[in-house]
Amino acid sequence: MSQASSGGARTTPLHETHLSLNATLVDFAGWLMPLRYTRESAEHQAVREAAGLFDLSHMGEIRVSGSQAAEFLDHALVGLLSTLAPGRARYTMIVAEHGGVLDDLIVYRLAEDEYLVVSNAANTDVVTAALAERTGGFDVAVADESAEYALIALQGPRAAEILAPLTDADLSDLGYYAARYCTVAGAPVLLARTGYTGEDGFELFVRPAAEAPAVWEALYKAGRPLGLLPAGLAARDTLRLEAGMPLYGNELNTNLTPYEAGLGRLVKLDKPGGFVGRAALTARRSSGPTQVLVGLVGRGRRVPRKGHGVLRNGVHVGVVTSGAPSPTLGKPIAIAAVDAGTDLSSGEFTVDVRGRAEAVDVVDLPFYKRKA
């Protein structure tokens, strides 16, 4: 599905659609992707109040199949994927032998002997290689099938209402983190109730990818009267930030273990057979994480951004990993990594925003939680 564009970045099967919607395109992880179509705050708000439509075709889809696919993933990833029922999904991670996070992943079990591993665009090659390297002794095949798929996300409180008339799937029967094959607007789709926005919503793995523009068009037409907007990466970033979800490259990287990201619950140290990274992660769990992630809310209007220093009573205690103006709160928000052991319950916290200290309040994540 990738073609070379003038800038060398790859384009998705929805590229013509983005051009016709007059999207502002940016190079993201080697892909030419929509940053925004209209205004990022309007797109963000549409997802919170109605629905948003995203092209996520840059993300990786890696098929893991074979009679020992389940045991293999238990060995290759930090989670326990063998207990996942077919038709269900799980958030997990792949780490290096030293325990550092190579990527965070959603893994779908498609059948007893078949899984789909969804990776971040920038990490697809790394994840595919790491998985392939770990197959020794298992009856399993690892195949990067990213080029076969287009991925469309439909997110927001009205997503189900928009999708229902267009699909043969019974959405009331499709729970959170469940997935099934169906048709949407006549196209074959793996439909999953997953997302990265903090709202109810769906991710549609469209295969063949060439069907994606027709699926997009059908969702767009059905959704527009209900307030749906196409939404770009800018809105996607503020939505996930408000929802307190980590972004690889910001909150996660190869120098950190899942414990540093507050995601130690994903690591199943006691699963049978061991796994890659187990020794390092066992040691890290007993020594404790080197940092903790906290939420910051700015009192002023200048925005803490990635890389800005965090101070407690004037003393450096950490660094901002993500920051943006929050459309929902109307204030700057940020996630910061602060040294383990920092007293968060007292003291004056500030962020060094380009040489000037801006007062912030430390809060629990997430910043936003949808009403049940």
Partner: protein, 126 residues
């Protein structure tokens, strides 16, 4: 994107309107479009002195922060409080109600781009 014919421009995407010895400064529609939603603007203080080519403020959008470079030298005699209070004005009406500040000119403005030159510049970038 067409630009107003009566203004001068800079490579940093500011516009300047000179009326006798007072210059009004703003950012161009091209800059506003590139920034996206503008959430915060910091302007020089009234009474302060600005120097052509030097940073004198900042504009923050969802995705980034940009410096404001003064296109002219002189004393700041007015700032657009409405734009400070409601930065969306800068994006919605960059050549009108979204103006940024006014300078009493110490020197004649130098090296400003004509509308044609500025249009050429943005076509190269856009």
């Amino acid at each position: 994107m067409s630009v107003p014919a009566e203004l001068g421009y800079t490579k940093e995407h500011e516009w300047v309107a000179v009326n006798e010895d007072i210059a009004t400064v703003g950012i161009t529609a091209f800059a506003a479009e590139a920034l996206g939603d503008i959430v915060y603007v910091e302007l020089p203080e009234v009474g302060s002195t600005v120097t052509a080519g030097d940073s004198c403020g900042e504009i923050e959008s969802h995705k980034s922060v940009s410096e404001i470079y003064s296109p002219v030298s002189g004393e700041v005699v007015d700032v657009n409080q409405a734009a400070v209070d409601d930065p969306e004005l800068i994006g919605s009406d960059p050549y009108g109600r979204g103006w940024l500040f006014k300078v009493e000119l110490a020197d004649e403005p130098a090296d400003l781009l004509t509308p044609e030159q500025y249009t050429q510049l943005t076509e190269g970038e856009g």
